[in-house]
């Protein structure tokens, strides 16, 4: 097995008096998909924001290709362009058309020419069945379409790692499927991903490994059939039975 693409070693994060991440460690190899599950407030989103350097960690190391990107001296902008993140609330730019949402970063950050950026965007739009929406503005799209555009926007930067922060939580139930399908397709193509999700069936289906978090700690970690079917810890068992009851 090759060296892991991402290695998180003992990171800590406080918000004031509240410890949100306590000694979190994980490893992720290229082409691997990790699902992060756990009750709300357990620090899942903060973990993703820390990996993407949107939040500075208070202690610990985050190695991307063996380089510690959490080092305070490290150039954060250069890391963020390699790591795509998809937010729960889509966060598309409302003043820009779908096409401009997608081409903004490639042209400004990667210095692609406008034509080149548009060709890349067009290919992605065609692939994910959104070509007819390229000139629309985000508020004219359904939630599912908006989230798919947000995924394309992140993919246009050709990231080596994609992070998904509860990508379907803000969607109406009938729109969840189309977004999950996109993520599934990406997994099938070998995209390295960390997916925070409450869709346990999906996690079991797509993820190679599952991380169960509670109160800022990793409670359990392992293959989906273990963590999501027969967890060892009492905390994970309780969460799981609550989640299945809700169905």
């Amino acid at each position: 097995m090759s060296a892991p693409l991402l290695e998180v070693r003992g990171i800590w994060k406080d918000f004031g008096d509240l410890t949100v991440l306590a000694d979190i460690s994980l490893e992720l190899s290229t082409h691997e998909v990790m699902a992060v599950v756990g009750p709300s407030g357990s620090g899942k989103s903060t973990l993703l924001r820390c990996i993407n350097l949107l939040e500075p960690v208070d202690d610990g190391e985050i190695l991307l290709n063996g380089v510690d990107i959490a080092d305070p001296d490290f150039d954060a902008d250069s890391v963020r362009r390699q790591i795509g993140i998809v937010f729960q609330s889509f966060n598309l730019f409302p003043h820009l058309s779908v096409l401009d949402n997608i081409t903004l970063a490639p042209s400004r950050v990667l210095k692609m020419s406008v034509e080149e950026a548009q060709i890349t965007a067009q290919k992605l739009l065609v692939r994910f069945d959104l070509a007819d929406k390229r000139d629309e503005y985000p508020d004219r799209l359904s939630g599912g379409q908006q989230q798919r555009v947000a995924i394309i926007r992140a993919l246009a930067m050709s990231p080596s790692l994609m992070l998904f922060d509860e990508p379907t939580s803000a969607l109406d139930p009938e729109l969840v499927g189309e977004v999950l399908d996109v993520i599934r397709t990406l997994a099938g193509e070998g995209m390295t991903m960390i997916v925070v999700s409450h869709e346990l069936a999906f996690a079991r289906d797509v993820a190679h490994r599952v991380l169960f978090m509670d109160e800022g700690r990793v409670v359990e970690q392992g293959p989906p059939d273990q963590v999501l079917v027969s967890p060892v810890t009492e905390r994970a068992q309780r969460f799981l039975s609550l989640m299945t009851e809700a169905r």
Binding site: D77, S78, R81, Q82, F90, N91, F93, H95, G143
Partner: protein
Amino acid sequence: MTEAEAPRHSPGISPGRARRLAFQRAQRRRSLSIGAISTIVVFGTVALVVVNSPGWEAVKESFFSWEDFKASFPEILSGFATNVRIFLIAEVLILFVALVLAVIRNSRSPLLTPLRLGATAYVDVIRGIPTIILLYLFGFGIPALRLQGVPNSQEFWAITTLVVSYSAYVTEVYRAGIESVHESQRAAARSLGLTSGQSMRFVVLPQAVRRVIPPLLNDFVALQKDSALVALLGVQEAFRKAQIYVAETFNFTAYLAAALLFLLLTIPLARFTDYLIRRQQQRTGGIRS
């Protein structure tokens, strides 16, 4: 889900629907006629009282004299061209200066700390000083120093005063707009690798400026009116021309003529602002992510 087959409308106009429509029509007719009658009665009474009051002839003579209006209007109109020039130039400069100040006030770079402090002090101080005092300080004070290379033109100092004064207000308008853009927009921009400057320029500012267009226009209505203040420096604009005419004739119609010219600009602009605000409310009331 077999309800899909249920009819969406009553077939034809059912008796129940017809009765409700008739009721609504009757109500509309009633409120329309009541509104018309009460308006006529109120304004009619006011007009009668005014026209029959003992001083009316004198008022009419010195404020609403058609002859004086005709005699003074051409001069005032030519003066008004100066007002238009002054506030157009001032508006462009204010939009630019205030935007720069607002971005500086919102920057987090430690390198810009002195500029940030300066911008904050500027806004605090200038907003607290009456424009008329600034006008005297700049318009009479600085030329009186007789410094080399400093322009003496009254119009130059008039524009400078308006820019200095209004930039402080407009900076705050911009700043409110910048702060109204949700933090998640900046996060999305940064997550794509944009620098903080790029995020500001391509993501935050375009949204912020769009949101503050109505309050900006509001400030410009005020600016247009305040362009009359520069008459105090002796600039030959509409109000100054009116003053001259009044001093010669002791008839105040000329002031009304000047006021009318201001209204012709400010009322449409105010209506346009209302329209933009309404449109914005409709938009944000609709589907939003």
